[in-house]
Point group: C2
Chain length 210, copies 2
DNA sequence: TAGATTGTTAATCGATTAACAATC
DNA sequence: TAGATTGTTAATCGATTAACAATC
């Protein structure tokens, strides 16, 4: 797992490589090539080989890559060859969808609890959870050594929630709130905002000449 | 709106600029600067000025930018100074959350219908919609001149759904299915996969030395 | 005017691509 | 062996940053 200064954009592609390898595995494929992976992902084979070269040598000349081996190597590199403990803040419609999303558990992200500040929701069942009070956020994180959190609260509440999470030592935030968060060194944030994505595409399909 | 070959990465930042300008507007601010915008977004003021310079001159030396004016210019540039007609495919938990998401309408994305292939769901209410049969997809798109679609179906169904949408002339797809879609020239796709985002962050917070 | 901030240039930095020797 | 594909190098391409003249 030799690596020190791999470009973030390369790291961001690894999960997609991992995903396609999992599909290949499910299809019963044993061997693949940078060419095939590139074709499936719409990128060049050169980019895939270059990206992988940051971490080591995983293939065989003339043959390609062992799907299972490369898959497992990528899992190691990404640190997803183990379980991660996460929580979800926000039990609205989006929180409900995330609480039911099977792929988190399937990929080793163990969602341990769901929090909300609405008295009408606290104590009620939500999927396999019982919604907890946001008042219990700090104690729960500390006691369970939570490392990641999904933020699915309104934009107006997101900054305070993020601050509290970070105060308790949560190191990765995935925020669905449409707001940019300032976080200290050592804490990672990723954003999911479908509206900005639609706007991005609107630029191109807008007037035909772009 | 002079522009021909603006880097995609620049286009992708404009919606975020637009978002922060809307917040400034809501706060009653009339003037801002590239410095302030950069501070709010965690990027350099130089990058903001450079990005905007692809499209024209929007500020005044010594003063900065008129918030309302720049906001409206960005809306024009992104082609979001008008309504866009969209549909949603998939009425599961995620589809339910998206059907209720107010920010689409707030930002000019008019969701006209929700489709599913499950007989138990078809005809049932979902937010302000009544779930339509996927059998009616083609006729609905054609009759209503749908331009965008949100895909919230299982991965196994996503390729076929995308193909049908594209066949009917839909030009922008926002897919929540964890699979890469091959689309023809002129069609845009964006993906939202929270699992890849968590995996991306896991890389950094994994072992402390990255 | 003095102070501030833009828009732009040039330099730096970083990522992608093409090509090919190595080698399975 | 002949054919195929990797890993890597060097060249190209593209993005970001720093700096500053222009100017409000």
């Amino acid at each position: 797992m030799a690596s020190f200064n791999v470009p973030d954009i390369v790291v961001g592609r690894l999960p997609v490589y991992l995903r396609v390898l999992n599909y290949l595995l499910a299809e019963g494929r044993q061997i693949t090539s940078s060419q095939e992976l590139g074709d499936r992902l719409g990128i060049s084979s050169a980019q895939i080989r270059k990206d992988l070269s940051h971490f080591g040598e995983f293939g065989k000349q003339g043959t390609g890559y062992d799907v299972l081996f490369l898959r497992d190597q990528l899992k190691q590199i990404l640190n997803v060859d183990r379980e991660w403990k996460a929580i979800l803040i926000g039990a609205g419609d989006l929180g409900n969808a995330l609480a039911h999303y099977q792929r988190f558990a399937d990929n080793g992200f163990d969602m341990l609890a769901v929090f909300d500040n609405d008295p009408d929701k606290i104590g009620k069942p939500l999927g396999r959870y019982t919604v907890k009070s946001i008042d219990d956020l700090e104690s729960f994180i500390t006691e369970n050594q939570i490392e990641m959190a999904l933020i699915a609260v309104p934009a107006a509440a997101a900054r305070e929630v993020a601050a509290r999470l970070i105060d308790c030592g949560v190191k990765a935030l995935l925020s669905y709130a449409p707001i940019t968060l300032a976080v200290p060194q050592g804490v990672r944030v990723q954003y999911i905002d479908p509206v900005t994505r639609l706007q991005h595409m609107a630029y191109y399909i807008g007037s035909g000449d772009k």
